[in-house]
């Protein structure tokens, strides 16, 4: 007799797979069979939960117990103790970083508690390779509703009313975009999904594609209906093999069930969906470059206007949205625009998924309502700064974004407030930095990225970011020159004004925002030859703190005479003389010498 009384959900996202979830799952299936429980317990592979740092992750139902960092060696105990005897294994539970309290249930963990999961609601909870699980979770109801009860115009209107804005970066109103494509004359139109996620550290699109591919597909089909397109492309980077595999499975299943193909829901509407694998150029996330790439050309942006809504893929009207944007559509259609618009701020509706990384305790994906503060994300969801260090800045929006300082922590997050603050929503990368991070170095990191990913087409981006990078490099090497800041600002403004595409126009943002909020760090590098964070190795100066009693030990041990000071008075290090050997630090009996300024 088969009676399934328990489901063991093993995360099969890319993160958990690389930390060993495949072995855990295989071991689990063997052990369950060995104990004769295979008629009672079902093992389900799910997509990503967005908490990859703690992976491999496992949820056991009906209790809903959440186990983290599960190893293959833990499997016999899980089967014996939990599945056979029904007892929770304490040591595999998640512990809150601050309270050290272990928490058995998913929903009770701070990381998840403050989230509002709409896009990610199925991720980690259903088997992405099984269309039935998506349907059981309410999937394809939106499509059915749109196709059988609504006109294309009404669907477009609903999306407009929802206030949804593009989740790919610039935040253009999605409904408006659909309307442009809808009104654009032409028999043949296309829907394109931008899944060329490329911001360093961002992986929300991958998680959605791996964990809930049908949600994106459903959004695309609805869009096709709304704008009058019968064909769509998902442009997904080849570096996402698992996402591609799951998408292929999902498309095949949707075709088999008749959600894709001819006469969907008996409405006469046809839609075909293709996958196009990208070759790994960051710039192909820019919509016109992406279209070039689908067409088989080198991914280089083309001038707009004409916009893709007028002349897109192969010159046909085309609507392009990113993965997360499409993933919003189903809930807007099912629950209605008004309900959707209850979440968020006046001009930024719904939720946004952020990829939390950096010097923070809980890294991972956080889906939060628009209007939440940065502080809530970093401290409540993210669990604060690692090792109790001091927060310094948060870089938001990837290479196009900017760095915000501590006094901006209470900024409510929405498209407009972020742009006003000199950052950007971007794709939602959120890198937290502590006091040991050098802000010039951070700017250099992002400029290195944009420079090497510049398509090379327009002069300002290709040449200008190179010169900015050179200036930043010499500043961090301690060779900064008088006037470098002005030169950086001049270049940055010029590039913003003259670059061809969004990538180029926003490339200077990391420099401009760090100059805005951390100008003193640049000045310290250039004028004092000191890296205040102690991160730039050429400038890792030593300083003497107030704990100095003036014993003179350091002065004696210094091989180059870089320390000055009278006995019983606080000593000082002459940075220009200091060779950073560190001898003084070891000698000081009062621990009054430390690295950094």
């Amino acid at each position: 007799m088969q009676f399934i009384r328990a489901h063991v959900l093993v995360c099969g996202g890319t993160g958990c797979m690389s930390s060993g979830s495949r072995q855990v799952q295989a071991g689990l299936e063997d052990e369950i069979a060995r104990r004769g429980l295979d008629n009672e317990v079902k093992v389900v592979q799910t997509g990503c939960h967005g908490f990859c740092e703690m992976g491999p992750l496992m949820i056991i139902y009906p209790e809903g117990v959440f186990y983290v960092s599960v190893k293959a060696e833990d499997v016999p105990e899980i089967v014996e103790t939990h599945l056979y005897k029904g007892r929770i294994i304490e040591r595999l539970l998640y512990r809150e970083p601050l309270s050290q309290k272990s928490i058995p249930s998913y929903d009770e963990i701070n990381f998840y508690k403050k989230q509002r999961r709409i896009i990610l609601s199925n991720c980690g909870h259903i088997n992405p390779d099984e269309i039935n699980e998506y349907i059981a979770a309410g999937g394809y109801e939106a499509l059915g509703k749109a196709l059988t009860l609504m006109t294309p115009a009404a669907v477009t209107e609903e999306v407009k009313k929802s206030g949804l804005r593009g989740r790919g970066g610039a935040g253009f109103p999605t409904g408006m975009k659909w309307q442009f494509a809808r009104q654009s004359p032409g028999e043949k139109k296309y829907v394109v999904c931008n899944a060329d996620e490329g911001d360093p550290g961002a992986f929300m699109d991958r998680s959605v594609l791996e964990g809930d591919p049908h949600r994106v597909i459903e959004g695309m089909i609805i869009c096709g209906y709304a704008i009058g397109a019968d064909e769509g492309y998902i442009y997904v980077r080849a570096e996402y093999p698992l996402a591609i595999k799951r998408l292929r499975t999902a498309i095949a299943q949707a075709e088999e069930m008749g959600f894709l193909g001819k006469d969907v829901f008996g409405s006469g509407f046809n839609f075909a969906l293709h996958i196009k694998e990208g070759a790994g150029a960051f710039v192909c996330g820019e919509e016109t470059a992406l279209l070039q790439s689908i067409e088989g050309r080198r991914g280089m942006p083309r001038p707009r206007p004409p916009f893709p809504a007028v002349s897109g893929l192969w010159g046909k009207p085309t609507n392009i949205n990113n993965v997360e944007t499409f993933a919003n559509i189903a809930s807007i259609i099912v629950d209605g625009a008004e309900k959707y618009a209850e979440i968020g701020t006046e001009k930024s509706k719904g939720t946004k998924v952020f990829a939390l990384t950096g010097k923070i305790n809980n890294t991972g994906l956080a889906e939060v309502p628009m209007g939440i503060t940065m502080r809530e994300i970093i401290y409540d969801i993210g669990g604060g700064i690692v090792d109790g260090k001091k927060f310094k800045a948060v870089q938001i929006g990837g290479p196009s974004g900017g760095c915000l300082p501590e006094d901006m922590l209470d900024l409510t997050i929405d498209y407009d407030s972020l742009t006003a603050a000199g950052a950007m929503m971007g794709s939602g990368g959120l890198v937290v930095m502590d006091e040991t991070t050098c802000m010039v170095d951070v700017a250099k990191f992002f400029l290195t990225f944009t420079q090497s990913e510049s398509c090379g087409k327009c002069t300002p981006c290709r040449e200008g970011t190179k010169r900015m990078l050179e200036i930043l490099t010499r500043i961090t090497n301690g060779e900064g020159r008088e006037g470098d800041i002005a030169l950086l600002e001049d270049l940055a403004r010029g590039i913003k004004q003259t670059a061809l595409c969004g990538l180029g126009q926003t490339a200077p943002n990391p420099v401009l925002s760090t100059l805005k909020y951390f100008r003193h760090e640049y000045e310290a590098h250039i004028k004092d030859h000191v890296c205040p964070a102690g991160a730039c190795s050429n400038l890792t100066g030593y300083t003497i703190t107030d704990d100095c009693r003036g014993c003179g030990m350091c002065k004696k041990v210094c091989p180059v005479g870089a320390i000055a000071g009278e006995i019983k008075e606080r000593h000082v290090i002459k940075h220009k003389v200091c060779i950073k050997c560190g001898a003084c630090e070891g000698k000081c009996p009062f621990k009054a010498i430390r690295k950094g300024a």
Partner: protein, 120 residues
């Protein structure tokens, strides 16, 4: 897929497979401590599951629990209907499964001769 109705029917059918991931069903909890297992808890649970399956009941969730200190009354089985108190039955044997399912799970009638405790 040709209509919304067809989709709804399919969904209802499919939901029985994922229902146990929702926290709102009828709960049957079997004591699975060493004492319980020795008294035949596995067999009791198997019999209860078979009974539920035979009757095609959806949304009945099975859980196990450890020793609660009434070892002499094992096998212990708790049945919780949504919104109702937790009823603990003692000295349950596989042959009692039919009655517990038919009378309590389906009809909400407590099987008095097996009850050992009632709690909220």
């Amino acid at each position: 897929m040709k209509s919304l109705e067809e989709l709804k029917k399919l969904r209802e059918k499919l939901q029985s497979d994922t229902k146990l991931r929702a926290a709102d069903g009828i709960k049957v909890i079997v004591g699975m401590g060493t004492c319980g297992i020795a008294a035949g808890a596995r067999e009791v649970m198997a019999a209860l599951m078979e009974e539920v399956k035979k009757r095609g009941l959806a949304g009945v969730v099975f859980q196990q629990t450890g020793c609660i200190g009434m070892c002499e009354k094992e096998v212990l089985v708790d049945i919780i209907l949504p919104g109702a108190p937790r009823i603990t039955y003692g000295n349950v044997r596989p042959s009692d499964a039919g009655r517990l399912v038919a009378e309590h799970v389906i009809n909400g009638q407590i099987v008095k001769d097996l009850v050992v405790a009632k709690s909220v």
